[in-house]
């Protein structure tokens, strides 16, 4: 069963902006799915339509087989959403926000209280439960929204750029939490423009550009499809060494080289050839993130 199935979805806003121009997308149940795209590509619009905050112009959308036009409330029951922008009342207490959200999904107060304790503890927010949302830091507000989205145990969780503006340490904590959630059966649909995040978390990704899906594949296949990858080599010195044949090498400084490794070349070969030519290779690391290179290629070519 697909967690999400979208066919030929379009959206034209009242302003005339064509945010979606016929999107097809399937997300398997249990997947950790990433929707990647630049600002304004249409990511939030897709999540808005799937959570009924935005009215679609045309097309078909299903969640776990429930057609949003016919069985909207059944579909909604399975869904939790962490929006891109804060959307809670800043005057309410953390615990009240979460428990009320449970209530809207039919979760009784006492049950919601117990669940809230568990979730807030896991997200390291329990000590803030009686504070008004206004008094939380940016990262805490994000986590509050994650906790709120999980109170009714949704089978599908939408996360719209959940780590935007979140510091590194917190981001890694969140990743761990989300990975764990996914391992326990929650399907996750995440939008991001941090490619590192997508590579770290997602099994499948789609790339959206100006309202159209331009690529949809597993992260594994995407990375495999990279024509070349650029590596940074740190060497003792490159002074007086012969150029290495078969490799595209750019000298950055005396001890730093940039080398392109083509799809059909191996790292062993690279090290070997450099060694043969008298280089002492101290360190090799990829230049930038792999998905990032692919992403830029796709966005620039199309």
């Amino acid at each position: 069963m697909d967690a999400l199935n979208i066919q030929n979805l379009t959206k034209t806003y009242a302003t005339g902006t064509r945010a979606l121009k016929g999107v097809d997308l399937r997300v398997k149940s249990g997947d950790f799915f990433g929707l990647l795209g630049a600002n304004g590509a249409g990511k939030t619009t897709i999540i808005g339509i799937m959570t009924s905050l935005v009215k679609k112009t045309s097309g078909k959308a299903e969640i776990f087989g429930y057609d949003l036009d016919k069985d909207l409330n059944k579909a909604k029951k399975e869904v939790g959403v962490v929006p891109q922008e804060f959307n809670f009342s800043i005057w309410e207490k953390v615990i009240d926000i979460i428990v009320a959200q449970g209530g809207y999904f039919g979760v009784p107060r006492s049950v919601a209280m117990d669940r809230a304790e568990e979730i807030l503890n896991a997200l390291d927010l329990w000590s803030k439960k009686d504070q008004t949302a206004r008094t939380l830091s940016g990262g805490m507000k994000r986590r509050l929204m994650i906790a709120r989205a999980l109170i009714h145990h949704p089978k599908l969780l939408f996360l719209d750029e959940p780590t935007a503006g979140v510091d590194v340490e917190l981001r890694h904590g969140m990743w761990k939490y989300l990975n764990n959630l996914n391992a326990n059966g929650t399907t996750i649909f995440l939008t991001t423009h941090y490619l590192e995040e997508a590579e770290e978390l997602c099994r499948d990704v789609a790339i959206i550009k100006e309202g159209e899906i331009v690529r949809n594949d597993s992260v594994k296949n995407l990375i495999r499809s990279l024509e070349k990858q650029t590596y940074i080599l740190t060497v003792e010195t490159s002074k007086g060494r012969k150029p290495v044949k078969g490799f595209d090498v750019r000298v950055i400084d005396d001890a730093t080289l940039e080398v392109d490794l083509h799809k059909d070349q191996t790292m062993s070969l690279l090290i070997h050839e450099f060694h043969e030519n008298g280089y002492v290779v101290l360190d090799v690391r990829p230049k930038g993130n792999r998905l990032e290179q692919l992403f830029l290629n796709i966005l620039q070519n199309k």
């Binding site: 959307n87 009342s89 009240d96 209530g103 999904f105 009784p108």
Partner: protein
């Protein structure tokens, strides 16, 4: 959602609404109480002693139902319009919109929140009136019915105002320019029988007249207008506004782009 889930969702909204107005009681409960007390003092105790009785009721006693009703109207309307617009403004209305709570339950929750505040304020004002006049109740059921329906009608009005409002100014326009004048001309301070014929006819288009008049009947057993007719009018307003609210929410007016 099954009946149990639906009940929990309704209860959650209502509880939240009540907690909200109780938390800010100095803005929600106190002002109407102070206002109406001033009316009691000035119109009732001071000016009232110089005015002849109306339909056999001393002037001070005559204005009590109208002043209670005025507080109920303002409080229920204001509660829903500010709460609903507030949650649109802060976008926490999305918490409800993404949930499976049916629209009629969202409406019922907000409306009952407005009714709760309206009736609470009305009860306090009525209790204070006892300091100025001996309170009588001719028929408690009629009193309850009128106060309830009135609070429902104005809560619905507040909700619809909140749905259309796009900025804070939109929240106070209707109360200031429509609600307050209609209330003053709705027979709070006089019997319409004492008005010139033209004004009598015009007044009959004012819905608040029926509310105040029927409510007053519940206290004294005398009214200017047939009470059954007033009940029918109120019920009609309730249904029309309720359908309008459901329609607007279904359509997503002011909520979904």
């Amino acid at each position: 959602m099954n009946a149990h889930d639906t009940w929990i969702a309704f209860y959650t909204i209502l509880r939240k609404e009540i907690v909200r107005f109780m938390r800010i009681w100095s803005q929600t409960l106190l002002p109407p109480v102070i206002n109406q007390s001033l009316y009691f003092i000035i119109f009732g105790a001071y000016i009232g002693s110089q005015v002849k009785s109306i339909n056999g009721i001393p002037y001070m006693a005559f204005i009590v139902p109208g002043l209670v009703m005025m507080a109920v109207i303002t409080s229920s309307f204001t509660n829903v319009v500010s709460s609903f617009f507030g949650s649109k403004f802060q976008k926490n209305i999305e918490e409800l919109l993404v949930s499976p709570t049916p629209n009629y339950v969202i409406i019922a929750g907000y409306i009952m929140g407005g009714v709760a505040r309206g009736i609470l304020v009305g009860a306090i004002v009525f209790a204070i009136s006892a300091l100025f006049t001996h309170p009588v109740i001719y028929n408690g059921w009629i009193v309850a019915l009128f106060v309830f329906l009135t609070a429902v009608v104005f809560s619905l009005g507040g909700l619809i105002n909140g749905i259309f409002a796009t900025k804070f100014d939109d929240v106070s326009i209707f109360p200031t320019f429509v609600l307050t004048p209609l209330t003053y001309f709705g027979g709070v301070f006089y019997s319409i029988n004492d008005l010139p014929p033209l004004w009598q006819t015009l007044t009959k288009f004012n819905p608040i007249l029926y509310m105040v008049d029927g409510f007053r009947y519940g206290f004294f057993g005398v009214s200017d207008i047939n009470v059954s007719f007033s009940i029918v009018m109120l019920a009609a307003f309730t249904f029309i506004l309720a359908f309008a609210a459901v329609y607007l929410l279904q359509k997503g007016t002011g909520l979904k782009s």
